[in-house]
Symmetry: C4
Subunit: 290 residues, 4 copies
């Protein structure tokens, strides 16, 4: 942690304290900051759980849940907490503008909005209760922040990054297949079977190729069923390709990492990933970076 | 089997016989105990098959199956058998309390409950016939016990255990995606299309991301269909990740085991997994632990 | 082909000719027999295509297709061909009884039945037209015979055979999960939502775990939706296991075969699977058995 | 680029200029031609997006979108562009006949048709508006042309090509299973449950085995549900096979390419795919062909 050392030479004492607090609270390299992050994630999780309970209590006959004051109070408490956190982050950050316009900064800001929307335009929160509540549930995205620092993300991320050209190729191919199949079904089935716009037909193609198959739009003519069967078989075949690509990249990565672990005494490589001692000379192996 | 040897020195003859019986009946390292286990599993299977037949005989017009006495009799016989087995296990076990509160102990106890519920509160078994019968079918869980000892579980288990960090990361990510997508659909589609609570919306997201796609809840607005298509494509993409993770771990494990088989004469490694003789000097290879 | 040589020493000339004909027509090691097999497969394919056209011509308003005589004539011609083939196989086979009771023998016999059923009990073919026609379409199974001799079957077959213990374990686990989930839903949802027998509930579990998701049976209660979501997530997770098992076994097999190709001059191994010359000394490599 | 050099020696100046233009515009080895190709792909994409907007503006109450003249004008502009491109390709190509009857030539021609159909038979474009619009959306296929030159296609293509025998075997097997299952359901369920022709039954089998599961055709009898469950379990099992085949082939290819990268100084092989220097002697490695 070289930052306090550097901060010692700054002119103003306020800056010194600011930096100190930043490292204590938000610098992911310190243990205390990771705990703060985990606590904020927990609060986001709790606030989402509360919205779920509130929504579940609302029935068809009673459009508003009982005890509206209680739920509003909880919402205010959460918003206060998140506002405090946002302001602290903004004030303490060494580059506030960069934080404010980063993905995580915008997400943190969006977390606060629901209550302020409710205060400024209460008619929105009443008429569009569903949208207002949905805004609050989107807070779950904040938990993604915690996943950023899991070390196992690296292995998956590396495989995806190595295979990116092939994956882009694959998705471009699938997208074209979906558009063409949607267009064919639009021409064959027409409006009376639900395929009333090209968009709806492509929605059908997405639902079909990915093997979801809701069944809200289905072919009713013989020709439509033949085209649908062909599309399904194409989708069924190509689903193996991204899996194959990722499997081979991950196998490759695992082998590479195993062979990269070389005993510093006898130079033997190819140790098991969780080995602690060299299988040839018994010396301690360098630790594996997960 | 050091236990009979150790038992010889115990003070009481009853303890000696108890230990002997325990090893004979329930210690998985003896062949007789494995046979007892297989027989108990068979009884559980039979009792489940009986419940299935009983339920199939019940039609919409006749809520109770014919010959109710016959079915009750069979149920009593099975319960007697399982009660006897449970008592024996409890009495003979060297640590009865540990057994009683272990997962398998609680499961064995749960197996007995349906009949005793029927005797104590017969009105439950009549009014909640479906629940009472479901309790009896849950006995199928006991067959899981038999799978514990299959040696091939180790290879799968090892791969899952090595990849646990990545799998946890994956499921956390999927869970967040599901909650956010459910919230968005709740806001967009609203109550009139079936998305009447956040819970129902997340149920829809689970059914969609996993490509099950029942079609009981489907988007009806254009915006909802766009969000659904995006969610489906995300689900379709990430389904390749756990498969890739497990495939690479299992490939790694298989190679490791192959290279670990080294001829004790000429030190050549890398034999085929089912090889019996060294491919270099012809000496017999050590047996492979499956 | 040692058989004609051996046949030369048999006593009767009929046996000699019989053996000769058998090798010519049905012994898969001769080229002419493989052509006969392919021709019989083609006839089976044609007969299936005819049944499909016949069934497609039948509309809701006209339960019988036009020109019934034409379709019956074609059916008689196919049956005559298959009868002749069956009798020839039976007569020429060195072990007629073994052929008659083998899987393929019974299948060949079943191929003939529809017409004879029509002649003996014409009322069946009229009242149960659907079943009668289905019997004729099952002839498609005969084409499986042709796949038996494709050499690439070996690689897939070897991987499945090596992984059989793990696959059995996997299917046993999935079966237990399905029974338990079906029982839970039977207890929770009850008869009014379509879960009116344990069999129907297990059918629902099969449709759900495998991500087919017809939507004919769906949970309607909140508790049922929670159980369904959990079951779906379990199914989604375990679907990666058999793929991982087969991928790792096939990767292992491919590597083994590559390393098994050793140059007979310089003993260098590890050649590309489609290499023709040794990459180290340039000598011709032994041919790869596909 | 030896072509301009060769063109210098041709007799006619027109041929010289023609060749020059061909290389400049359509020879994929020059950078300018690749840009022309990308621009044409972009125009195809734009024309498809326009058709989607046009179709989305059409509602159930207003069968024609507003401003029909605007949409027709845009269509004329696109058709003029594609006509110009087609004529240029045809005139400049060294082998015009070969281009005209190649897959891409026919596709380029099909791109032009919708407007000429509209001019020659306007009644078609009005009565069969859906089909006419579908023809325009099929232009998306032209974007496939751009994917041809992506280098990562090679790795996927090589794996598919190496595994072609196994994949053919797999699809033949799946096709037979689908026909037999369709026939069984046709016989068991019969016409009253929607299985009113063998074609419809096979459509059901395709939708089921591939785990799409629309739910428009579902089994209603107990026997039908048993057959459907078995078919679903077969489909669920074999879905792992093509994934396993492709994964193993791709793993094999990746390893081969890694081992093929040998340092030209010290002959060490087995470098990481994105390594730039030899990990043993530090010399620059030959570049990897992606």
């Amino acid at each position: 942690m070289p930052a306090p050392f550097f901060a010692r030479f700054t002119v103003s004492g306020i800056t010194l304290r600011r930096r100190h607090l930043f490292h204590l609270l938000f610098d992911q390299r310190t243990r205390s900051a990771r705990r703060v992050e985990a606590f904020c994630g927990l609060m986001a999780l709790l606030s989402v759980i509360v919205v779920f309970f509130e929504s579940a209590l609302m029935t068809r006959h009673a459009p508003a849940p009982p005890h509206p004051g209680l739920w509003l109070g909880i919402e205010i408490a959460f918003t206060l907490f998140f506002t405090l956190e946002y302001l602290l982050r903004l004030v303490l950050s060494p580059k506030p503008a960069r934080y404010a316009f980063s993905f995580w900064g915008i997400l943190d800001l969006a977390t606060l909005l629901p209550l302020y929307v409710y205060w400024l335009w209460p008619e929105i929160a009443v008429s569009y209760l569903f949208i207002w509540r949905a805004m609050r549930a989107v807070r779950a995205l904040r938990i993604l922040k915690l996943l950023r620092f899991m070390p196992s993300l690296r292995l998956v991320g590396e495989a995806v990054s190595n295979a990116r050209h092939q994956l882009i190729l694959f998705y471009a191919f699938i997208a074209i297949v979906m558009v063409v199949a949607g267009a064919l079904m639009y021409g064959i089935e027409g409006g009376e079977n639900g395929f009333d716009s090209l968009g709806a037909s492509v929605y059908w193609a997405v639902v079909t190729v990915t093997t979801v198959g809701y069944g809200d739009l289905t072919p009713h003519t013989a020709a439509g069923r033949v085209v649908a069967s062909l599309l399904i078989l194409i989708g069924y075949s190509v689903i193996a390709i991204p899996t194959g690509i990722l499997s081979s990249q991950m196998t490759e990565n695992l082998q590479r990492r195993r062979q990269a672990r070389r005993c510093i005494h006898c130079r033997t490589a190819d140790h098991k990933l969780d080995a602690i001692y060299c299988h040839h000379c018994g010396a301690a192996l360098p630790r594996l970076k997960r």
